[in-house]
């Protein structure tokens, strides 16, 4: 039965997130944009306490131990939360303590014991962070096939060596808190991507060093770092997936890749949040000048501004619905690779286009740092880059609909 009824529990969550966005994020958004790398502890501590009181260690959905009543909603709820918090401020949102991309990988690829062990760090007294490190200096989109970071077994330990770049929240996970980073490394360089596995490296592990803090176009409240692994030893059980590389069988790898089917729609949700912020802001500024949008008119009777706004709203809504569908499939435990990449493609296009137009439409006001429009324009672009660029996601969609392997279409 097709339905677009927003579940009541998700509605309540969204209202709560909106309050946080309004009160804890918007008022300080500009400050943290202009003070790059200053840590927004007020927001972090508030979120940590709030999540503790709600009885969750993170906003990442967990497999419930209790018997479920009704359908699973975890991923859908998360999409709504991320959309709303990114509407507040996407840079600050990326500073939210608790489960991040590291947890997402553990949830997708870890055993029940690993989930218990690694995710428990987020339920302590102090806020903690996690991160995921995949990209290396020589390759981004070609990952994880071209991972050069190695993991060599030595008794009951793995020894990691290599360099990771563009690790979101890596500094918070390893330096500012007792969190962890998921490092993607190869256990058999000759095996190509079949040999690649995610490893958990906890804060304080000798041999794991944050070496560089990037300066970015946008999302400046969030840290992006390089990590060097030099004879970094982690327990054998920190490997997720199989320690064996079977010829022709890449199950360990594919299991881990499922991470992206969950995280791509979340990036799409964040992108939609930024786009909505920009669009609403433009509409509000226009309203202050007594310019309303006359929905319902044919294009031949609309002003250019009206047409732009209506087209952007159309794109925003359809992209959001696609994102919800991708998350609904995830909650239903159905394959969602196509939808996950589709919504990521469209959300990347959406947020870039909407924020560009928003600055253009508002002219000298849009370009001014007095308002947040120019900031959203800068924040927006990352959504078309991380968790797979728009192009790599187009490639994934194309391979799926054409039934091509990566050898046939690259």
């Amino acid at each position: 039965m097709i339905s677009f009824e927003m579940p009541e529990s998700i509605r309540k969550t969204a209202v709560l997130m909106e309050t946080i966005a309004d009160n804890m994020m918007r008022p300080v958004a500009r400050y943290f944009d202009e003070h790059e790398h200053e840590i927004p502890w007020d927001y972090i501590n508030f979120m940590h306490e709030a999540m503790k009181q709600m009885g969750v260690g993170s906003i990442t959905p967990k497999e419930g131990k209790k018997k479920r009543k009704g359908p699973r909603l975890g991923f859908q709820r998360q999409a709504f939360m991320l959309e709303m918090l990114s509407w507040g401020d996407s840079g600050l949102f990326l500073c939210t303590p608790g489960g991040g991309l590291g947890s997402a990988t553990v949830l997708a690829a870890g055993t029940p014991e690993q989930k218990e062990r690694f995710l428990s760090c987020h339920t302590g007294d102090k806020p903690t962070f996690d991160a995921m490190a995949l990209t290396e200096p020589h390759a981004g989109s070609a990952m994880p096939a071209e991972v050069r970071t190695t993991a060599v077994r030595d008794g009951d330990e793995w020894v990691l060596n290599g360099e990771k770049i563009f690790v979101t929240a890596g500094h918070k996970a390893l330096v500012d808190s007792d969190g962890f980073v998921v490092i993607w490394a190869t256990i058999d360089p000759a095996a190509g991507r079949a040999g690649v596995r995610p490893f958990v490296v906890e804060a304080g592990t000798p041999g794991c060093t944050v070496t560089k803090l990037e300066h970015k176009l946008g999302i400046r409240a969030s840290d992006t770092v390089s990590i060097v692994l030099q004879d970094c030893r982690v327990p054998f059980e920190n490997l997720m997936g199989s320690p064996e590389v079977k010829k022709k069988k890449t199950k360990g790898f594919k299991g881990a890749m499922a991470t992206f089917d969950a995280t791509r729609p979340l990036i799409a949700a964040m992108a939609v949040g930024v786009a909505r912020a920009a669009l609403e802001s433009v509409k509000q500024m226009l309203e202050e000048h007594e310019i309303g949008i006359r929905y319902g008119l044919p294009r031949s009777r609309l002003t250019n501004i009206e047409r732009e706004i209506i087209d952007m709203e159309t794109m925003l809504r359809s992209t959001w619905l696609l994102t919800i569908k991708a998350m609904w499939l995830a909650d239903e435990r159905k394959p969602n690779t196509i939808e996950a990449s589709m919504c990521k493609v469209r959300a990347g296009d959406l947020v870039v286009k909407v924020t560009q137009r928003a600055v253009e439409i508002m002219g000298p006001l849009g370009y001014s740092r007095e308002y947040l429009l120019e900031k959203w324009f800068r924040d927006a672009k990352i959504n078309d880059l991380y968790e797979g660029t728009g192009q790599i996601n187009r490639l994934i969609v194309a391979r799926r609909i054409l039934d091509y392997s990566r050898h046939e279409l690259s």
Partner: protein
């Protein structure tokens, strides 16, 4: 709860319509377009699927309740087969659905059974007008009360099967409100013009219609004295056309995709080139996204929410999708796409019309 799965009954209906679209509409579309004519048996077979009949309650000759969601699912499947034929098969809905939504009890009892209980007959609507800035909320056709009759004056265009129509539902403005009137064929003051020549939907015969002091009795005004609420009717036609557009676009994608896997350039299929593969990925993404927009607007109509803005935006998105996706399909086929042996040029011609077609179908 969100759900994106049609129920069992809807699935069965979609499958039946898809079979018809594949076996009948698709095979007939090319010749019908060239000849400018649809075989009557083709239309009757589509009517026999009972899509409209299933959305009219038993009291008025049907066997079910109206569901706009079911309607858009069927419309997409039919539009995938052929737009002109789909508009012909669905034509009586443009007459019956406003009656169901806005008619008085007496009008429904009187006007619906002859449409629903019979074989397919051209019961039609006169909605669109021949002006570049035509807007359903501001029509130029007027109806003025004069004693115990209304006097209709104005011009309509894109009226399908007007020449052979059983009866018309004519939209006109009464005191600033868009209202509608039931007018029998052959009424005095009603002139059927020449058949129109259009860029697409060539198999569907359409006409201009003139009203010159056309006398309509009071009881033929839809909704009686106080009239009817036009906005859910407008929303219904917007989602119907948008759903047909999703079907047309999906057809173009489904045709371009295997073509791209077969057609080779420098020894490899063009689908293995990113320039083509990315285009196909974008087409698929667009269709998927706009389909959800259409579903949501239809769902809002079904649960009784105000859906004017959503239906408008669904058609807004669908118009752009139809144009972009059908154009890209022609592009994938290259020069071959421009040749009428392949259907993509027809879909491109039809796709351009979506932004104009509100009024030609209803769910």
């Amino acid at each position: 709860m969100y759900s994106f799965e049609p129920d069992e009954e809807q699935r069965m209906l979609i499958e039946a319509v898809e079979r018809y679209a594949t076996n009948d509409l698709r095979t007939a579309a090319h010749d019908a377009d060239e000849a400018g004519e649809l075989p009557v048996e083709l239309i009757e077979k589509g009517w026999g699927l009972g899509v409209l009949q299933a959305s009219i309650p038993e009291a008025y000759g049907g066997f079910g309740d109206r569901s706009a969601v079911t309607g858009v699912l069927a419309a997409e499947a039919m539009g995938w087969g052929d737009l002109a034929s789909a508009l012909a098969v669905m034509l009586p809905a443009t007459y019956a659905m406003p009656v169901l939504l806005g008619g008085t009890e007496e009008q429904k009892t009187r006007w619906l059974p002859p449409v629903i209980e019979a074989e397919w007959k051209p019961y039609v609507a006169a909605f669109i007008e021949p002006s570049f800035d035509f807007y359903a909320g501001d029509m130029r056709t007027t109806a003025k009360k004069n004693g115990d009759v209304y006097l209709l004056n104005g011009e309509k265009a894109y009226v399908p099967f007007a020449e052979t129509a059983e009866a018309f539902l004519i939209y006109a403005v009464v005191d600033g409100q868009t209202q509608a009137f039931i007018v029998p064929a052959g009424a005095e003051g009603l002139t059927i013009g020449e058949r129109e020549k259009l860029m697409g939907i060539g198999a569907l015969p359409t006409y201009q219609v003139k009203m010159d002091d056309l006398l309509v009795p009071l009881e033929s005004k839809l909704g009686g004295e106080q009239g009817f609420d036009f906005s859910p009717v407008l929303a219904s036609t917007q989602v119907a056309i948008a759903a047909l557009a999703v079907g047309v676009s999906k057809a173009a994608l489904d045709y371009a995709l295997p073509y791209a896997k077969e057609r080779e350039v420098w020894g490899v299929p063009i689908a293995q080139k990113q320039a083509i593969a990315f285009m196909l990925a974008e087409m698929a993404t667009e269709v998927e996204a706009i389909r959800l927009l259409v579903w949501e607007a239809a769902w809002m109509l079904d649960v009784g929410k105000e859906a004017s803005k959503e239906a408008y935006m669904a058609l807004n998105g669908a118009s752009d999708m139809a144009m972009t996706v059908t154009d890209q399909a022609v592009q994938v086929l290259g020069g071959h796409g421009y040749i009428r042996e392949h259907p993509v040029e027809l879909w491109m011609r039809n796709g351009r019309g979506i932004s104009t077609f509100a009024g030609l179908a209803m769910v």
